[in-house]
């Protein structure tokens, strides 16, 4: 029986969050009444001309540098010619040879192993308008009676990021998408909202027998808009293609559509009849020249990238999971670093922040910076736990109060009488009392039956109002019940 392997490549479109569109001064905001963010340029009225948005160019350079790409010193805008009603000029300004960025890569982590995904190219283009299909097709193009066109989105700057066919599994694909999203968010160049379509994936999948050198025929599933769907689409396509091949059939080179509800992909059109895009350099636009000086200026302004942040947080003591969560939130990461700076153990600070603190902020829908928690207070809290001054349940109560803005952990523990008693005299007095009332239990223990020991600990803790350090209680009780 043939063992199959999948070969996967992903094209990602990211809408840049600039103020204005790529080639005109309309707001880059597709919300709002249809066709209210339009001008002669983005409607492709006769005579209108495009002028590139410098900020968008900076955005793509940031992405390219973050993905370790080579930046082409001279880069060219091309026209990709095809007719479609949502494309006002009936050509898209895009790039072809000499894209802005080429030959990059991204490291992802899958089940603890690091995988390198090559980035073929990162290029600049513009978004299309939005079509609404009206009629019996349930909003789908099939069966629609007519279509309405809104060009608010037309011309919003889009960056296309194309991987090498380096991805082998749906998990890798998902991890790639997630990491790319983190990078884009860290760069601050896009809101990268998958559900809103400001980041979307086209997934190319083919299968081949393990060991085969040649690639199988691929399909492209367009506009997949969640990480979960990326994974499901790929799983579905791999399974479908293997079935087709094992039944003696052939996979067709085609574009497919992912249906979120049914969980299947369906054929949209075959690529044999694919368009001849007649790419040529856009004569309305000048070449883009990225001097080494400009490049290094952009590079020096780059923020720390998520992978670096994670590694740095891990060296500060955060465990893998906590480092990942912290790296995704600059506010949490900053608190973490402050706490470690103030002497907290990285491991404990990481667990508190990514556990209780995140849960609290979600529950009460506040930003962590708006709470009473500071790095110093977190360090204080972890120090109290370590010193045995707070039980873990008491520590939780103190943390919530800190978050609520009630003061420092010391103050709160004090005022709420949550401090653990480590005064041996008080505990010994309680033990005396408990042992006197439970003489038979002591006898059983001395006779080798340890069952009642836990009961005695409980009685002492109860006597102490729960504020004794259980470890101290155990140690003392062990001594006192020893034969």
């Amino acid at each position: 029986m043939t063992v199959w392997e999948a070969v996967i490549g992903i094209e990602t479109h990211v809408e840049l969050s600039t103020e204005s569109k790529m080639f005109c001064s309309c707001p880059a905001d597709a919300e709002g009444e249809p066709n209210t963010a339009c001008c002669p340029v983005c409607l492709a009225l006769p005579g209108a001309l495009p002028v590139p948005n410098g900020k968008a160019i900076e955005g793509i350079l940031k992405i390219g540098l973050a993905l370790d790409c080579d930046i082409n010193e001279s880069s060219i805008f091309y026209r990709k010619n095809y007719f479609y009603p949502d494309l006002p000029k009936n050509y898209q300004i895009s790039q072809y040879t000499f894209p802005v960025c080429e030959h990059g890569h991204i490291e992802i982590d899958v089940d603890g192993a690091s995988v390198r995904i090559g980035i073929t190219r990162v290029h600049m283009e513009e978004d299309t308008g939005k079509s609404t299909h009206v009629g019996d097709g349930d909003g789908r193009i099939h069966g629609a009676d007519h279509t309405l066109l809104d060009f608010n989105r037309a011309g919003i700057p889009l960056v296309e990021i194309v991987t090498e066919p380096d991805i082998r599994t749906s998990q890798e694909a998902r991890a790639y998408g997630a990491e790319l999203q983190r990078i884009v968010l860290a760069l601050g160049v896009s809101d990268a909202k998958l559900e809103a379509g400001s980041m979307r994936f086209d997934v190319n999948v083919s299968v081949r027998p393990v060991g085969a050198k040649e690639l199988g025929t691929r399909t492209e599933t367009k506009n997949v808009n969640s990480l979960r769907s990326v994974q499901r689409t790929i799983d579905y396509e791999i399974d479908r293609q293997i079935k087709v091949l094992e039944a003696g059939g052939e996979v067709r080179l085609e574009t497919r559509h992912w249906n979120e509800n049914t969980g299947v992909t369906t054929s949209m059109r075959t690529k044999e009849e694919s368009e001849d895009y007649r790419y040529f350099q856009d004569p309305d636009l000048l070449p883009l020249e990225v001097t080494p000086a400009w490049q290094s200026e952009i590079r020096s302004g780059l923020p720390e990238l998520p992978a670096i942040t994670r590694a740095r947080l891990a060296t500060l003591g955060a465990d893998m999971i906590a480092a990942g969560v912290l790296a995704d939130s600059s506010d949490l990461a900053a608190l973490f670093e402050e706490a470690v700076e103030a002497g907290a153990s990285g491991r404990a600070a990481g667990i508190w922040l990514t556990g209780e603190v995140v849960a609290y902020t979600r529950r009460s829908d506040v930003a962590v910076l708006e709470t009473g928690l500071t790095g110093g207070r977190l360090a204080e809290l972890t120090a109290m736990v370590e010193a045995g001054k707070l039980s873990s349940s008491a520590a939780k109560k103190v943390l919530i109060a800190v978050l609520e803005g009630e003061g420092s952990p010391e103050e709160i523990a004090e005022s709420k009488e949550l401090l653990q008693v480590s005064d041996i005299t008080a505990i010994e007095a309680a033990i005396d009392h408990v042992l006197a009332e439970n003489a038979d239990a002591v006898d059983k223990i001395r006779g080798g039956d340890m069952k009642p020991f836990g009961f005695l600990v409980g009685q002492v803790m109860r006597q102490m109002g729960g504020r004794a350090d259980p470890k101290v209680v155990r140690d003392l009780l062990t001594d006192r019940t020893a034969g």
Partner: protein
């Protein structure tokens, strides 16, 4: 010799619904024009870069600032068909 071209395919690419007769006429005229145009191939151009722009300029950018958009009615009134502030077109081939 006139250049042979697949005029049906070219007309389809250019989105022009031409009649059989028009296809014939344009096809043969294009063949004649291309026969002349083909003369460019006689000139040796090894190592000569293409010119897309008459002047050697680079990097024309705009500031990322917004300006007023068109009033929707100013362009929708020239549209062949509209509905609810949108352009309307017949059904699209999927």
């Amino acid at each position: 010799m006139p250049v042979e071209i697949d005029i049906v395919k070219v007309a389809a690419l250019a989105r022009l619904a031409l009649t059989e007769e028009e296809l014939d006429t344009f096809g043969s005229q294009l063949g004649d024009i291309l026969e002349h145009a083909e003369r460019v191939q006689a000139l040796p151009t090894d190592g000569v870069p293409p010119t897309s722009h008459p002047l050697p300029m680079v990097n024309a950018f705009r500031e990322d600032v917004t300006a007023e958009c068109l009033d929707r009615e100013s362009f929708l009134r020239s549209a062949p068909d509209t509905a609810g502030g949108q352009f309307r077109v017949p059904r699209i081939l999927a």
